[in-house]
């Protein structure tokens, strides 16, 4: 497996050094692996801190900036950051108005953010948490750790970030973040496995003629494997899986997300099919975003996230944002 890296042990630090060089508008602490808004703490405003394993770029550091995250903590590849990083990030961005932790529902992320929240509160930082768990592929039963957090993270971070930018208090930012998560569902499909630097090759075996339906963003298998399908057929399966779980009463916001190894040519073609299915199912689409936002290293494939929209969520979605990976309106 060829990878454009030095050694596996330094991939995250190397990437952060490059990120710092490319984005002088952000403060990058390579040693502690946190990325912070240059103007933080912003007086009187609630701060948003997120983070997670590396390998999902641009999530999360790519979403740091005005209108979205105040800071992000980068863990090792597919490994959550440690509490020290989150505490440092929270302390760097807290203006006294409190901090919202945006946490994807994986055991490691939940445990480390819980520990961090306790430690930050010991230091006098008021902390609230929102758990993102939008993936319909794994059911919330007695036997699982609950749904995984995937594409909805982008909607939560953007919309809650806009609310914080408007000056909403912590309680309100938290409740909007929870509302966005509750209104969002995702489903992912893998056409190939992803390769971690530590392993030096694919982390699971997906034969060339097959695809994995309901894949997770760490390459965790999902519901089933089937012989390769067309974009049209995949769109039918993915959208129906989401709509089985989310019954939108009005327009939705749509994210057609690439897993990292699929070109935009294919993603836009797939997006066209997603629009077609949604039209056939009578679901109007208010906003569409297509691109690689919540990735899984070099995995080929895509995920579909729908978020039930309303006037307020659309207004906050449309609000100006200026981050490395998402920017509009200013």
């Amino acid at each position: 497996m060829k990878m454009l890296i030095n050694v596996p042990e330094t991939v995250v630090a190397d990437a952060l050094r490059g990120f710092a060089a490319a984005h002088p508008e952000l403060t990058v602490d390579v040693e502690n692996r946190i990325v912070v808004r240059r103007d933080a703490p912003v007086a009187g405003k609630v701060a948003l801190v997120s983070g997670g394993g590396s390998g999902h770029e641009p999530l999360h550091a790519g979403f740091v900036g005005p209108g979205m995250l105040s800071a992000a903590a980068a863990g090792e590849v597919f490994t959550s950051p440690v509490p020290d990083q989150m505490v440092r990030a929270a302390a760097a961005v807290d203006s006294g108005a409190g901090v919202l932790f945006v946490v994807k529902n994986y055991t490691g992320d939940v445990l480390n953010f819980d520990m961090a929240a306790e430690l930050a509160e010991d230091e006098g930082v008021q902390v609230a948490k929102v758990l993102v768990d939008d993936d319909v592929a794994v059911s919330d039963s007695l036997y699982t750790a609950g749904r995984r957090g995937t594409g909805a993270t982008l909607f939560v971070e953007k919309i809650a970030g806009a609310a914080a930018d408007e000056g909403a208090p912590l309680e309100r930012v938290e409740s909007i973040a929870r509302r966005v998560n509750a209104a969002s569902r995702s489903f992912g499909v893998a056409l190939s496995a992803c390769s971690t630097p530590a392993k030096g090759g694919p982390t699971f075996d997906l034969p060339p003629g097959e695809l994995e339906l309901g894949v997770g963003i760490h390459g965790e298998p999902g519901r089933e494997r089937r012989p390769m399908m067309t974009a049209r057929e995949i769109a039918d399966v993915a959208v129906d899986a989401v709509l089985d779980d989310l019954d939108p009463s009005g327009p939705v916001m749509l994210l057609v997300n690439g897993m990292g190894g699929t070109p935009l040519l294919e993603l836009y073609g797939f997006g066209a099919e997603v629009h077609r299915v949604l039209k056939e199912r009578g679901v109007p689409v208010a906003r569409t975003l297509v691109g690689n936002y919540v990735t899984s290293l070099d995995m080929a494939g895509a995920s579909v996230t729908l978020c039930q929209a309303d006037e307020e969520l659309l207004r906050l979605w449309d609000a100006p944002v200026q981050t490395p990976a998402l920017r509009w309106g200013r």
């Binding site: 863990g75 090792e76 490994t79 445990l111 530590a198 982390t203 997770g216 390459g219 965790e220």
Partner: protein
């Protein structure tokens, strides 16, 4: 009786054993998890060994508390807080005694295991590190025999092969987790093997 030096030797042996087993742990984790367990454990225990070298502790409890804190600060993922809690709580349970019996160590580790179960919300049989930790600690508590504890932990890890994962990343696989040994239970068995090694 076991003194601080014994516990430091355990942590050093654990670091060496985790280093030897890292690729195997990652291989197991790539079958049912996300292929990072070996690398994470290696990073954490290397930090533990370095911290104890730099700051030798004077009581068994202090050794374990420092080791646990290092794991929480360097590992990340689920294994950082879980293994960190195991050692930190065990160390706190030992208090500031200068020497402890193997049975007292077993009891303290039992306190740590209970804290791990609570933090992770798992019980034995869920295909997690608990499936090796619980039998290992139970064997040690029975007669203070480190070799027997290592054997029980190893057998506990092997017994996870046919289990259906109910917690952690592997739980997303459901039925497909069956047939693979749990990487967390395996690393727990590695820690017990290191303990038996320094005791012999």
């Amino acid at each position: 009786m076991l003194d601080a030096g014994f516990l430091q030797r355990w942590m050093a042996a654990a670091a060496a054993a985790v280093e030897r087993e890292a690729d195997h742990l990652t291989e197991l984790d790539s079958a049912i998890g996300d292929a990072d367990h070996g690398a994470n454990m290696r990073r954490g225990f290397a930090a533990v060994a370095a911290a104890l070298d730099a700051e030798p502790q004077t009581t068994p409890g202090a050794v374990l508390v420092l080791a646990g804190r290092q794991l929480i600060s360097t590992v990340g993922g689920a294994s950082g807080p879980l293994y960190g809690t195991l050692l930190r709580r065990a160390g706190k349970a030992l208090g500031d005694a200068a020497e402890v019996t193997p049975e007292a160590l077993a009891e303290a580790l039992g306190t740590g295991v209970a804290a791990v179960a609570q933090l992770g919300g798992a019980t034995a049989g869920d295909k997690t590190m608990l499936d090796a930790l619980e039998p290992g600690v139970a064997a040690l508590a029975r007669d203070g025999d480190f070799a027997a504890a290592a054997r029980a932990a190893r057998e506990g890890a092997a017994a996870t092969v046919p289990m259906l994962a109910r917690k952690g990343r592997a739980s997303y696989l459901g039925e497909r987790s069956v047939g693979h040994q749990d990487p967390g239970a395996t690393s727990a068995a590695v820690l017990f093997a290191a303990l038996a090694e320094v005791a012999s």
